[in-house]
């Protein structure tokens, strides 16, 4: 399932996938895979992404 909340949060800060990837220390393709729902990140990576985007885990990764 696509993670559109992550995508919109990233876009809201005007960050490209590469920018976000650089800040959390992964490859651009990994961010792409998370947004497309092809990869389930570890809790550590989720936390790092939330920290960069200024969101909580629930806001970005909790499915309703």
């Amino acid at each position: 399932m696509k993670n559109l909340r992550l995508k919109s949060a990233r876009a809201a800060l005007d960050l490209s996938q590469q920018d976000l990837a650089d800040r959390v220390g992964v490859s651009r393709q990994t961010i792409n895979a998370i947004e497309k729902g092809d990869y389930n990140p570890t809790i550590k990576l989720c936390r790092d992404i939330c920290r960069v985007l200024g969101k909580t885990l629930d806001e970005l990764f909790w499915e309703d």
Partner: protein, 341 residues
């Protein structure tokens, strides 16, 4: 002296030691001493095949151990839609010296075989005869005439010497230097921050798994085809070697497509150029050797240059796959900024 220069010098020393050792072991004074191709006709009258025989002269320039090889050309002959693999046996093989004294003789050997013996320098005469196995291949017992091509060859076997010990030591030392250098470079790379992220590590695990499956399936298929007798004797070893290259190909191509092959991520141009050079050189060596000698050597074993062909073909396929991934990745990255792929 800068560390990178020192590293390059150490790498060159390691490569020279390794290369010199391999060259010394391959040795220029061993190899084919004499060969002869004959055409032999088997005539069968009243259900009784004749007993063909052949003879030839050869000169040995230096004393030592030699292998005498007899091999059908081609390995299998077809007689009335029946493929005969071992149509007969050598009933006698005799090597005599200039004085007519027998220096080597044997009985009852399989038709496609080789034997090792000591020969002194001088001129020799060889003769051998064989009979067709009527019970195994009854079609041969029918009246008619068939032609068989075969090859007899004598190869020098270089004895183990102090040069070999030095060569082995050189190979071991060269390998150790290159290994230590590789490990230290890898560690340095890890410290400097170049690493795989968590997704890439997961994908690498999958790539290894698929590569293993691919290699196993290739070996399995080779085993089945081998047991069916489709390959010529010795050809199966080429297919088993190919399984390693197929496994490698699966690993790298999967890595390309899932962005977990670090060489392509970090240095695309260098990786593709390097693979292209390796591929072209190996393919050129492999193809020219295949064209000249075929897949198998005089004793029916795999030629070492077959590996050049397999290595070259693998590298070229990886270059093509890398270029395709390079283009698709570029398009994907261009779309980045919001909408990807």
């Amino acid at each position: 002296m800068r560390k990178s220069v020192l590293g390059i010098i150490i790498a060159i020393i390691g490569a020279v030691l390794l290369g010199a050792g391999i060259l010394a072991l391959s040795g220029s004074d061993s190899g084919l001493e004499w060969k002869s191709d004959w055409k032999q006709r088997i005539r069968c009258e009243a259900g009784q095949p004749n007993t063909p025989s052949s003879e030839g002269n050869f000169t040995i320039s230096k004393s030592g151990k030699y292998t005498i090889s007899i091999r059908w050309q081609p390995e299998d002959i077809k007689v009335k839609d029946v493929t005969a693999k071992d149509i007969g046996f050598v009933t006698s093989c005799k090597v005599t010296d200039e004085q007519g004294e027998t220096v080597y003789s044997t009985l009852g050997l399989a038709s496609d075989t080789y034997m090792t013996t000591d020969l002194a320098a001088g001129n020799y005469h060889m003769e051998f005869s064989y009979f067709a196995d009527r019970e195994t291949y009854p079609d041969l017992a029918e009246n008619g005439t068939w032609q068989i091509d075969y090859r007899l060859s004598v190869n020098y076997v270089r004895p183990f010497s102090t040069r070999d010990i030095c060569a082995v030591f050189s190979i071991l030392l060269g390998t150790a230097i290159l290994l230590i250098l590789t490990v230290s470079l890898y560690r340095k790379q890890q410290v400097s921050g170049t690493r795989y992220d968590e997704r890439q590590e997961v994908e690498q695990g999958r790539a290894f798994r698929y590569a293993f499956y691919a290699a196993m399936v290739t070996v399995g298929v080779s085993l089945i085809i081998d047991s069916m007798g489709i390959f010529a004797d010795g050809m199966s070893s080429v297919f088993y070697a190919a399984s390693i290259f197929i496994g490698l190909m699966v690993y790298v191509i999967y890595g390309y497509w899932h962005d977990c092959y670090i060489a392509l991520n970090e240095k695309k141009g260098f990786t593709i150029t390097f693979l292209l050079i390796i591929g072209v050189i190996n393919l050129a060596i492999g193809l020219s050797s295949l064209n000249r000698d075929g897949w198998l050597d005089e004793t029916g074993h795999m030629n070492t240059t077959d590996l050049n062909f397999l290595c070259g073909a693998t590298a070229i396929i990886l270059v093509v796959a890398g270029l395709i991934r390079f283009v698709t990745e570029k398009i994907s990255a261009k779309d980045d900024g919001g909408d990807d792929e």
